[in-house]
Symmetry: none
Subunit: 244 residues, 2 copies
């Protein structure tokens, strides 16, 4: 699978470069290239922000211009908030990442996600080296910063590269629902207590009410321990008087 390269064009603030490296680390991206960073390189502010991602920053390669940075790139996506007068196809991040994860670009060919300077974004000249434009869908107030844009692209990449595997759990592993047998015992006990308390005032209504109560208590699927707790609760309540 292709792991996209993050390519920053003329970034300005060191903090932002460090935050980009950090965002990359979250999502398993490791190759950073930087074209003509405004404040030179290495950049202490960038290093101060990078945290765990310092190795990503230290391994970053610096280039004087876009063309030299893209020598081995076989496909490039220009990330920009606005659609401009550039004759390129425009895709959303999900589509771009689908194309990257399913790409048939050969072994040698690398794929880059390209980000422009903080204030001005990518120029038409920068974008001329890219195949497609990726636009993160936002309201008219598009104000994602550089690292946040990398977060969105990295999130999509990590999500899709993981696929469906093991990301979710209906519950934590310890939450094993009690078998119906135990629910049944608990319901019998509860019904006995409720009958004794004359909870069901109108006998004809009891079957429907009792069904509703069983439904609502089953819905959360208590564990065995929780069923024991419920036994304890109804026993404690039934053996004492009301508090007030």
């Amino acid at each position: 699978m292709h792991i996209p390269i993050i390519l920053l064009i003329r970034p300005q603030m060191g903090e932002n470069i460090g935050a980009v490296a950090r965002a990359m680390g979250n999502f398993g991206l490791s190759e950073l290239r930087i074209v003509a960073p405004r404040d030179g390189w290495p950049n202490p502010q960038a290093e101060a922000v990078a945290g765990h991602a310092l190795p990503i920053l230290q391994a970053a390669r610096i280039f004087p211009d876009v063309v030299s940075a893209m020598q081995d790139i076989a496909r490039a996506y220009a990330t920009t908030a606005r659609s401009r007068d550039v004759e390129k196809r425009v895709v959303i991040p999900e589509t771009a990442i689908q194309e990257i994860t399913q790409s048939s670009v050969g072994q040698g060919g690398k794929i880059a996600l390209v980000f422009g300077p903080e204030r001005t974004g990518l120029t038409n000249e920068d974008m001329s080296w890219c195949d497609s434009i990726v636009t993160i869908p936002t309201t008219e107030y598009a104000s994602l910063n550089l690292a946040q844009s990398v977060v969105v692209m990295g999130y999509e990449w990590f999500k899709q590269s993981l696929g469906e595997s093991g990301l979710e759990s209906e519950r934590s592993d310890t939450l094993i629902p009690a078998p119906i047998e135990q629910y049944d015992q608990f319901f019998r006990k509860l019904e006995g207590y409720l009958d004794a308390a004359e909870f069901f005032k109108v006998p004809e209504k009891k079957p429907g009410m009792w069904l509703n109560i069983k439904n609502m208590l089953l819905r959360g699927r208590f564990t065995e321990q929780e069923i024991r707790t419920m036994h304890g609760i109804i026993r404690a309540l039934s053996e004492t008087k009301s508090p007030s």
Copy 2:
């Protein structure tokens, strides 16, 4: 369609609160609630960062604690990086947002995305008021900051709310969860009865036990009618003797 509320619990830095508002503005989220902001409110640093999103910040509602902030919330997702020893289901952002956009929670019931303090994250007590945990998939170096986490959730929401427009939801369940306010009243009542019944025999163990009980009873998300039934049950049990 439900537009989720962003609920920040005990946020620390004003800049981060401002950045959250800004992230919200990008993705069409407008309702911000804040529980006990460390540096008070209003917060000049937050306003300095907010930019276009200043109106979101100015309309933010401040609450002293989680329960008061969640009074009208019918479903809440706790955003946390690590899975903890909390008995909750865990979903990825995509699933959480699918559930929100397709939810049939009634008009009055609101949905919240809940975020903890920058350093420490949500406590188990905070999470006890939430139905599910949302974990943004990352590598082991999970270091997304507060605003970046809001960016990911906002991005998923905006993407899906755009995409789903005009699609009919397939589910139409008639079970409308009661808002937290009613759960809170019920829990207070139950706690009073249990204290009076000396249910918590070992005082040091009460906080953990009580948290477990609240978690298990919240899990099935009772409706308003069901909460009334629960009141009736515990009242009936408490006012009578054991049947045998």
